[in-house]
């Protein structure tokens, strides 16, 4: 495999300087992400306070900006509880399974253009793997485990319910997520995030959000909100139904890790939205001779902060969905919509006439589908859940029927 085709940094072989550059890139990326997470937590609390006519954090630092640090110190010194019913190994493992995907996903985001340091071209992204955006899909697949195993390992009923909800929800929305990403890949012709960004560099009309028609972006946005378990799709931690969700039994540093992962995911996914649909670091660069490389970074940060703000705005403005509504929206609306739109986009890419034919086919299919749904609902006297519960978990200390399941024989 030739490394140079992934990253121009390796054109002249892997030397000490190159290794140093890679190391610095990783460390800086990690530090910046960690720093921005503390800022993001403060930003979310402050913004939501403003929307709810409260003041929010204000004691530590100017405008309470050091609040997250104070919270972190507090959590650090709290007692680390492991419930008696917990599965200790999995209980300890789960927070890391939650945090690591959030960190890894950010490594494929192009933050700026290409710099030249010591004669080496340096891309301002930690990695540019040939499978690019698939890394993000893979990591969002992995991040299910953090939530799922945390809920299960707690050995408590509500967290378990929460984790079953989480796994079903995240798998369901991954399908819509994947299909919308396919539309982006179709117009770009490459999986690499670097190529996705450079193909959108020629101005606002080349941004994927416009090129693809706004629909994939909207579907992606909704699906990503569901993937993140953020409001209005936060049925995983619906406190009115599930006490506190999958992390009810967690305390101290392990809870802090979950908290960190949640906000880090929010930032990362905002960055992914910007990369896929809003040109990443693309934007107007003033005609100055020095420091031209700073402006793409500023554009990128500005766009990302905007989407972070949107997630906060959703949380403040929208009521939570009911669980069956979440599943309905995912399976019956977002997946068919994104699939149909993908077919239309593919048709237009071959020939506009084919696109029109595809649009007609998709329209007819959706009418047929809607009619079928209506007939089904009318025949069965209202919609009902396919996933009715079977079996149940014993209460602590209770023995369900003695089944041969306990002893393998």
């Amino acid at each position: 495999m030739s490394l140079a085709s992934i990253d121009p940094l390796y054109h002249h072989g892997v030397t000490g300087v190159v290794l140093l550059i890679v190391l610095v890139r990783v460390v800086v990326g990690f530090a910046v992400l960690m720093g921005s997470v503390t800022l993001m937590i403060w930003f979310e609390r402050k913004a939501i306070s403003d929307m709810q006519s409260r003041i929010g954090p204000q004691r530590w630092g100017p405008f309470g900006i050091l609040q997250t640090l104070a919270d972190g110190i507090k959590l650090f010194f709290k007692e680390d509880l492991i419930p008696a019913e917990a599965n200790r190994f999995v209980f300890k493992l789960a927070p890391y399974l939650s945090l690591v995907p959030a960190l890894v996903t950010f490594s494929i985001v192009p933050v700026g253009g290409t710099l030249t340091i010591a004669g080496h071209p340096v891309m301002l992204q930690i990695a540019n793997p040939p499978v690019g955006i698939l890394v993000m899909l893979a990591m969002s697949g992995i991040s299910v485990y953090g939530v799922m195993l945390a809920g299960w390992a707690s050995g408590s009923k509500y967290p378990l319910l929460s984790s079953v909800r989480a796994s079903a929800q995240m798998i369901s929305y991954e399908a819509a997520l994947g299909i919308t990403i396919v539309t982006v890949i179709l117009v770009t012709g490459s999986l690499s995030t670097h190529n996705i960004v450079t193909s959108q560099a020629d101005g606002i009309w080349h941004w994927n959000v416009i090129r693809l028609g706004v629909v994939p972006f909207v579907v992606f946005w909704m699906a990503i909100t569901a993937e993140l378990n953020r409001p209005p799709f936060d049925v995983v931690e619906a406190e009115s139904e599930l006490v506190g969700g999958f992390n009810t039994e967690y305390s101290s540093l392990r809870f802090a890790l979950f908290y960190l992962a949640e906000f880090m995911n929010t930032i990362t996914m905002s960055a992914i939205i910007v990369t896929l649909f809003f040109g990443g670091p693309a934007g107007w660069v003033p005609p100055v001779s020095h420091l031209r490389w700073v402006f793409p970074i500023i554009w990128f940060v500005a766009k990302t902060v905007f989407f972070c703000w949107c997630f906060i705005w959703f949380r403040a403005a929208l009521p939570r969905f009911r669980y069956d509504q979440v599943m309905d929206l995912g399976w019956k609306r977002l997946i068919p919509l994104s699939l149909g739109w993908m077919l239309v986009v593919a048709g237009f890419l071959i020939k506009p006439a084919w696109g029109l034919v595809m649009a007609a086919v998709v329209l007819m299919a959706s009418v047929a589908l809607a009619t079928a749904f209506e007939r089904g609902v009318a025949r069965e006297g209202g919609p009902r859940s396919v996933l009715a519960p079977v079996g149940r978990r014993p209460l602590p200390g209770e023995v369900l029927r003695a089944s041969s399941d306990e002893v393998e024989q």
Partner: protein
Amino acid sequence: MAVTYALASEAVFASAAVLILAGAVAVITVKNPVHAAISLITTLFGVAVAFVAQSADFLAAVQIIVYAGAIVVLFLFVIMFLGVDRTRVVSLEPLIGQRALAAVGVAITVAGLVALMWRSHWVTGAPSVSGHPLASGAGNVHQLGTAVFTTYLFAFEATAALLVIAVVGAVLLARREPSEEGSPS
């Protein structure tokens, strides 16, 4: 330079092998099904590493997305859903001699496979004359896509049909009869 690369690729192989074998052995020995599923993820990651090391990047990504991201999640979902996540006793051997027989059979199979590999001359190092030769560049996504959508188009369509049938079948199997609706089990 070449020496460093060799060392690196051996290290990659070693880590992949450790992940794969440790995970696989854990799958068949641990008592708790959830732990078995976690071990299965370890093995799948190891296989993904082995794929990347052999420049099958796309398959490595698909491996994580499909296997780790969907199939094992489905396993865990069913384990939690049915509530069979209690520890089992695995030391009992219901059929006498079953394990010994299984071990012997498996050992013979593996020995046969390895012997076959040693004796045969499949791997001559000569590139394939039929089919699509592998691109040397990093990532052969383009090539794989072309192969799947031209040479293997019929297989592709057939698997698509298979998936649809599987989904419909699974829904029918897991769905309750409307008459059972009111009675919780």
